[in-house]
């Protein structure tokens, strides 16, 4: 009964306008009166819905502004400078920051729109929109995770690439790419999980990948890790320091440098680079004259 009323009023307004149009003496006045009466005949619920939409638009705008401020204040634009995602965004005349900020704004606006539709009791649409409204937060989160994942993946690729630039080895180029797609893969996994897609198979894939990484990484870096662990002790405790005369195994000389993985020991005409692991397994002799 209430649903029908808006259409009726609109029709009456239209007919009033049509009637007023060709009329002669007071067309403006009668039209204004007709509009006023039409507006007055609108139910309060519609006004409320309209108010909600306006409020949502305002809130969305506010959130966009605040978000943008926060993101810029946190130094996000400088951090993600040069990533592929940011460059693509720039090509389309926008930027990652405004994309993310606008996304949250749209989210709030669409939520407000749904609330307004519910208040206005647009029956058939409401049933559909109510389900959408429940789905909306996870969709928003999924898109956010995806964007963050892409940006972080790009950033990881850039950072590793810069570190490896000194190594002029063509094969080293695969490492940054692998790192990037690992991050993106995990982000996609989380995003799909958010919107309720079954990701069991992908999780198994991730598990296998992680296991292989740990296993082979552990095998490959075994000595390095052992030396690194020993190196931390040596650096913290400094049982011997630069300038000491030491004997590690059968190397004998003056300590020139201690870092995380190796110790440089120098004797007359020879410099030994001794893995720190060796200092632990074979012990260190400090030679005093």
């Amino acid at each position: 009964m209430i649903d029908a009323s808006p259409t009726v009023t609109v029709e009456s307004v239209l007919s009033a306008a049509v009637r007023a149009g060709p009329g002669t003496s007071p067309p403006l006045q009668s039209a204004g009166e007709a509009v006023r009466s039409a507006l007055l005949s609108l139910p309060a619920r519609l006004w409320l819905a309209l108010g909600v939409v306006v409020l949502a638009a305002f809130l969305g705008y506010l959130v966009v502004r605040v978000n943008r401020r926060i993101l810029v204040g946190a130094g996000v634009p400088e951090t993600i400078e040069g990533t592929a995602f940011e460059r693509t965004a720039r090509e389309f005349g926008t930027s990652t920051v405004s994309l993310v900020a606008n996304l949250s704004g749209y989210f709030i606006f669409i939520l407000g729109l749904i609330v307004a539709l519910t208040i206005a009791r647009v029956e058939y649409i409401a049933a559909f929109w109510n389900r959408t409204a429940g789905f909306l937060p996870s969709l928003f989160l999924a898109v956010l995770v995806l964007i963050v994942g892409l940006v972080v993946g790009d950033k990881v690729e850039l950072l590793i690439d810069e570190r490896l630039r000194g190594v002029k080895l063509p094969q080293a180029g695969i490492v940054p790419a692998v790192a990037k797609w690992s991050v993106v893969f995990i982000a996609v996994l989380i995003a799909l999980g958010q919107i309720g897609v079954d990701t069991a198979a992908l999780v198994v894939l991730l598990g296998t990948y992680g296991f292989a990484l740990v296993l082979f990484g552990g095998l490959a870096f075994r000595d390095l890790l052992a030396s690194g662990a020993a190196g931390f002790y040596l650096l913290l405790e400094q049982p011997y320091s630069i300038g000491d005369r030491v004997r590690i195994g059968d190397t004998d000389g003056v300590v020139q440098e201690v870092n995380v993985f190796v110790t440089h020991v120098e004797s007359d005409g020879a410099e030994y680079v001794v893995p720190n692991r060796q200092a632990f397994t074979e012990g260190v002799v400090r030679v005093r004259e």
């Binding site: 630069i242 003056v254 020139q256 440098e257």
Partner: protein, 270 residues
């Protein structure tokens, strides 16, 4: 009738190579298209991916030092050889190139200034960082008063064995490297301590407060320099270290290697 431009062109005629000091991108592109002559870029960073490139660790304010460094570096890389004549395009008064200097390459101009940075035991970046610290210290002094300082860089193990502590080492069990942002402030505070700073090949500050005990015989440094310079010069003869000394009396930064004075800089010009 010859114009002055023709006469000046003689300056760059029949040269074996052109050296560009810190050129802009377009300048380098222009020169690169000239074939027959080899272009060598001498700059702090290889922005234009030049094939023949010598890294300039410090923007030497003294043009002679800058050219020496570039030429010695190029000789080391094999870009030019003894007997070549070079045209060096440098900026004397400002950033853009405003002067052309014609110079022959001779073995005698080998002052060791390139050697000091590139072929010392310590990493070139460490040597540069120590220079930066010394120049900074020379410029500001401590609380406005001029200070002196002695940095012994590289071969720290041997230096430590040829020196003894004057007091407790403030850098014991610390992991401070020159080039860390805090170092400038720290060294400024510690520069009132007597004795030398010892810095390892990788830039770790091993010790302060060291009294150097090298044998000083046969060290040839200019007369008039004090005990600090003598100690710094002598330790570089006995070890493979280099010494970077900030003079308290005249405020200059001097570098020694193998007992020889290699480089003299005025901090006020940087």
């Amino acid at each position: 009738m010859t114009s002055s431009a023709d006469l000046l062109a003689d300056l760059a005629a029949d040269v074996d190579g052109v050296f560009l000091f810190s050129p802009t991108g377009s300048t380098y592109e222009d020169y690169r298209e000239v074939d027959g002559e080899s272009v060598v870029v001498v700059a702090p960073e290889n922005d234009h991916d030049a094939d023949r490139y010598v890294e300039l660790p410090l923007e030497f304010d003294n043009v002679r030092d800058r050219i020496r460094f570039g030429v010695e570096g190029a000789m080391d890389h094999g870009f030019c050889a003894d007997g070549d004549v070079l045209a060096c395009a440098v900026g004397v008064f400002g950033d853009p190139i405003d002067a052309v200097i014609r110079t022959p390459v001779t073995e005698s101009m080998h002052s060791g200034i390139y050697d000091l940075f590139a072929n010392s035991r310590a990493d070139p970046s460490v040597v540069r960082d120590v220079f930066d610290v010394a120049i900074e210290l020379g410029k500001k002094g401590q609380k406005g008063k001029p200070v002196g300082a002695l940095f012994v860089v590289g071969d720290a193990g041997k230096v430590m064995n040829k020196s003894r502590p004057l007091s407790y080492n403030p850098f014991e069990k610390s992991h401070v490297h020159v080039g860390d942002p805090i170092v400038n402030v720290m060294l400024k505070e510690f520069s009132r301590l007597d004795g030398a700073f010892v810095i390892s090949d990788s830039g770790k500050i091993v010790s302060a407060y060291r009294y150097l005990e090298p044998g000083a015989e046969g060290v040839d440094i200019p007369k008039g320099l004090g005990a600090r310079h003598m100690a710094g010069g002598a330790i570089t003869r006995d070890t493979n270290a280099i010494a970077i000394v900030l003079s308290e009396s005249d405020g200059l930064v001097r570098a020694f290697k193998r007992g020889q004075l290699i480089l003299e800089l005025d901090p006020e010009e940087y």
